[in-house]
Amino acid sequence: MLLYGCLYKIRLMNAILVENLRKCFLTPLPSTGSFSQRIKNMLRPRYQEITAVNNISFQVQAGERVAFIGPNGAGKSTTIKILTGIMQPTSGCVKVLGNDPAADRKCLAYQIGAVFGQRSQLWYHLPVQETLTLLAAIYDIPKREYQLRLKMLAEKFNVTSLLTKPVRQLSLGERMRCEIIASFLHKPAVLFLDEPTIGLDITAKAIIRDLIRKQSEQEGVTLLLTSHDTDDIEKVCDRVIIIDQGQLLLDNSLHNLKTQYIKKRVLSIITEEETIVWKKSGVLVLEQSPHHLKIEIDMMQHTVESVVSELLENYTLKDLTIEGPPLEAIIQMLYVNGKNK
């Protein structure tokens, strides 16, 4: 009963709460000038303050899947290190599952997990199962519970036959599936994913994204994903937080992001009529062939509905496809706008 009470409380509250977070680093200035000045600098180095994260605030509800993205050096990793308790903030308030990450790091460690695409937590020369057994001991998972959990995850991630193989014999995709199992083993309430699909082929990427999303949905795990691959964001997350130069650029749902920031849409139609004559300001013809027309609509001048109605008045449509620009283009535009600001 008590356990369910606790779970209910966790479900209700914010999984992550960040308020006015700031993190500054002091970095030594390079010594320049004459020899004596260099010696002086060496003995008494001068420092400059660099603000890696500047006054950002956001909240993540329990069970949400959030992409936390930004260009290199934006402050993503610093924020995640603060959220996991590895670093202390200069100022501001951070709560993860109701805990202060820096003060309660050990307690929080039982409730959070992490997958770093470029690092491995598996012992290279040993079968995967050996590392998982070690992790079960580290996370105080009772033996029976561990065995059941491992069986369930191994079946779900289709790695049952891989568990007895040494890690060095696994492909990158197989290894990554095992890494994710290792991170889900102790049932974390929040999982931090840093480039989980980096270096994988298209099929492996699709499998990993699908597995992460399904596992998160089934167990209500809050995900905070950082990735430069926009497909990771589209396939796994429902919300996007973009930061740049330490500041919050955007915090919106993926759906809103796509609808609000799409300035142009591409429409492809196939008609019964062989010849399509089409000329309209704000609409650019991209491709034209018998029975086929591809146009780009300027959303500032027309709506898709108005263009489609007009087409329907003049032609018999057999097929119609509406495409938006890829998420990558939207994010790139936001990065450029952020830099210009």
Binding site: S77, T84, C107, A114, L126, A137
Partner: protein
């Protein structure tokens, strides 16, 4: 408490398995040991040194070659940012690495111990003392490696500020060779060098157990006291440096 010991045991256990899985490395280490002991056997024979010198050297080499490269491991963790991964776990980073080091040490210590006894008897034709003295000496040897590991941890932690710790590793090896009596016992040193050596932790890493196991005169109480004082001092410094390092570091690749 049981849960904590379970974590430590699991870390030691996996390191033992990992070490055993790297058979090639173990064989390489065995041959290195063999070559060193054989070469010194030839050198000692040519200067007609007593056979106990070879036993002394076989024991010091056994201890030093059993110690895993903990300093490099820690520096690698710090420089690569892997430390962040370990800090997310509900186990202290240094404890985890130390337990893994003990696991790897156990395998090496047993393998090289058997080699030491086998080679020593084969090359000298006798066993220096009795079994009980050796069993006590092995316990001292284990304590020595713990002290040596403390120095290696300290050097590894310097990577927070220095990044490259190769120079420190080299200095440590030189100090071990000179002040620890890696090749010849400290009793051969001049009084001044001997006094300087006993002011460092190195005699309590190599000279003490090797001298004891070869039947030399060792004040065990003084040795244990010195070992204890150095352990307290070094671990105090380790905890201080670790806290300072964690406060100041920025993980690369962010």
């Amino acid at each position: 408490m049981a849960k904590i010991s379970n974590k430590y045991w699991a870390s030691i256990d996996i390191a033992i398995r990992h070490q055993l899985a790297q058979r090639g490395q173990l064989v390489g280490r065995f041959f290195l040991y063999l070559v060193i002991v054989y070469l010194f056997h030839q050198v000692f024979n040519s200067v007609q040194a007593p056979a106990s010198r070879l036993w002394y050297l076989a024991i010091t080499e056994w201890i030093i070659l059993s110690a895993p490269p903990l300093a490099f491991q820690l520096a690698e963790d710090i420089n690569s940012g892997q430390i962040a991964y370990f800090m997310l776990r509900p186990m202290h980073f240094l404890s985890l690495r130390l337990m893994e080091c003990i696991g790897a040490f156990t395998v090496r210590f047993i393998l090289l111990g058997v080699s030491c006894v086998g080679l020593g008897i084969y090359l000298t034709g006798y066993f220096p003392t009795d079994i009980l003295t050796w069993l006590i000496g092995i316990c001292f040897g284990i304590l020595s490696v713990l002290l040596y590991n403390a120095i290696l941890i300290l050097i590894g932690l310097c990577a927070f500020w220095l990044r490259d710790i190769k120079t420190l590793i080299y200095l440590n090896l030189t100090a071990t060779l000179c002040f620890g009596g890696l090749i010849v016992p400290l009793s051969f040193y001049s009084p001044l060098v001997k006094t300087i050596s006993f002011c460092t932790p190195y005699p309590w890493i190599l000279w003490w157990p090797a001298e004891f196991m070869t039947g030399g005169h060792v004040n065990v109480f003084l040795a244990l006291m010195s070992w204890g004082i150095w352990m307290v001092l070094l671990w105090g410094l380790i905890i201080f440096l670790y806290r300072k390092g964690i406060q100041s570091f920025v993980i690369e690749g962010g």
